[in-house]
């Protein structure tokens, strides 16, 4: 499984033609205490760069963009009950949604872990 990163601080774990999307640990550290997460509905067709989810800290609301085009095939219901998971385990348990990839070429140009690390340095 490969993990790639966007400039907008999302991670994408790619497993075949399904990608799991979350926000990075850097993003959660910048946002602060997360108090609410709104996720897309399963079955929704997302276009790349479209606002797909909302994550809210005490301070502010942020959109999470669809990093690639595709259909939402699963969402992480645990985030509704425990939004603070985003702070405690952004890279793991706090995944946001899974998308069935429509066009794999959209993955080209995303960053690998080293490039993302440089991006946020």
């Amino acid at each position: 499984m490969t993990t790639l990163y966007t400039e907008d601080h999302e991670w994408l774990a790619i497993d075949g033609d399904v990608v799991t999307v979350g926000i990075t640990d850097y993003a959660q550290s910048q946002l602060g205490d997360v108090v609410f997460v709104e996720l897309p509905k399963v079955g929704r067709a997302l276009k790349k760069a479209e606002a797909a989810a909302v994550v809210e800290s005490v301070k502010a609301a942020s959109d999470v963009y669809a990093p690639i085009t595709g259909e939402v095939v699963a969402i992480n219901d645990a985030l509704a009950a425990e939004p603070a998971l985003v702070n405690s385990d952004a890279d793991g348990k706090a995944w946001f949604f899974k998308i069935k990839i429509a066009d794999k070429s959209e993955l080209d140009g995303l960053m690998d872990a080293d490039a993302y690390k440089a991006h946020t340095a």
Partner: protein
């Protein structure tokens, strides 16, 4: 993610610093621009824990960006300064006893609010604390209207900190033994750790606490001495905002401004009888015709508290509707977010009188959906002032 890079520190513009700037940076404050100053929005503790710590123990806030000034009558008589100031505020300043402080608003000719402030009687002069973003305009306003009667002096040589929370009195007592004997809104000069300060028992969190004006060159030493106490944590502007929102307190420029009157803003309580219709010095302040007419006959709209029924925070600027289908909004949210002590989203905003009664359901339009919210009494978290 839209906000992440915006939340990262922006040093692009030239920002002023308070005398406590180095202390904030040394303690890990995340610095952001606020009212022209480079201020800590939070520390490593984080907004949520800073908020809860203030309600449970004591939080220390740097509010040195706010404007401090004095008003002295050229005649030397305090009452002349008090009567002069009464031309600009709908409050009874003449009856404000020595050593006491009062909440006030500067109004304009059409009844709007230019700023809100604290006024204290320091015996031979008045001491004012105004908002950072308004302090230059406030000074000009005072000079334009009161210069013939008063000498107006700004105090840029003084820092201002707030110590807030249930442990504030015990903490301050270690450096200022007379502090616990002060009552809510008592104000005056006190020695704190041997430093000549102005102390008031007041604040902006709904908690018991103090605001302490300190000479700039001693601000860091005194603040560090208070932070050395195990019950005290430094608190940033993020928690300051969530604390005041839970306490139902207005943020100038958001919940009140030049387009809202004190009556629309629900600040009737702050206008004493003597300045109301039939009072000894009724009216006679800028915008008094409109403000007293609204006080007597009602205002068309009102600032109200709102509790979203869902979990989503509803923030400033969100429009409010009477139902799920109407196309015309009836009001808007002026402050909103998450209340850490309530563990739920809270907001305040303006609604027409017909929809302003407690328990009324209105709808916020959020990301294309109408979300129900209930008009709710404020404060959301009870005040715990030591009256």
């Amino acid at each position: 993610m839209s906000a992440v890079d915006a939340l990262a520190t922006d040093k692009s513009s030239i920002l002023k610093q308070t005398p406590l700037h180095a202390l904030h940076v040394a303690r890990g404050g995340k610095m952001v621009p606020f009212a022209g100053y480079d201020m800590p929005v939070q520390y490593a503790t984080g907004v949520l824990k800073e908020h809860l710590h203030t309600r449970a123990a004591a939080g220390l806030f740097d509010v040195s960006h706010m404007g401090q000034m004095t008003l002295r009558a050229k005649s030397g008589k305090l009452e002349d300064a008090a009567l002069a100031l009464e031309k600009l505020v709908p409050m009874d300043i003449l009856a404000l006893a020595p050593g006491r402080q009062r909440y006030a608003q500067f109004t304009n000719e059409v009844g709007g609010i230019l700023d809100d402030l604290m006024v204290a009687n320091f015996g031979d002069h008045l001491f004012l604390v105004v908002n950072a973003a308004c302090k230059d305009e406030d000074e000009a306003h005072l000079r334009a209207h009161l210069s013939d009667i008063c000498v107006i002096e700004t105090l840029p040589n003084r820092a201002l900190i707030a110590l807030q929370g249930p442990k504030a009195a015990d903490v301050l007592a270690t450096l200022c033994p007379e502090a616990p004997a002060m009552k809510f809104m008592d104000a005056g000069p006190h020695s704190v750790n041997g430093i000549a300060c102005f102390v008031s028992r007041s604040g902006y969190t709904g908690e018991d606490g103090y605001e302490i004006s300190i000479p700039n060159d001693q601000a860091e030493a005194l603040t560090s001495a208070l932070l050395d106490h195990p019950d005290v944590l430094p608190i940033g502007l993020g928690a300051r905002d969530s604390l005041r929102l839970e306490a139902g307190l207005c943020l100038y420029g958001h919940d009140i401004d030049t387009t809202t009157t004190p009556i629309e803003g629900g600040l009737n309580w702050s206008i004493q009888k003597s300045r109301r219709t039939g009072g000894a010095r009724a009216g006679g302040f800028l915008g008094s015709d409109k403000i007293l007419a609204q006080l007597d006959g009602g205002a068309p709209r009102k600032r109200i508290g709102l509790l979203p029924e869902g979990r989503a925070p509803v923030r400033e600027g969100v429009l409010l509707f009477a139902d799920t289908t109407s196309t015309e909004s009836i009001g808007s949210v002026t402050s909103g977010g998450f209340g850490p002590s309530l563990g739920a989203p809270i907001a305040m905003g303006y609604l027409p009188n017909a929809q302003a009664a407690d328990g009324t359901t209105v709808f916020a339009e959020l990301r294309g959906q109408r979300m129900p919210m209930k008009v709710s009494p404020m404060p959301f978290v009870p005040h715990s002032y030591k009256r």
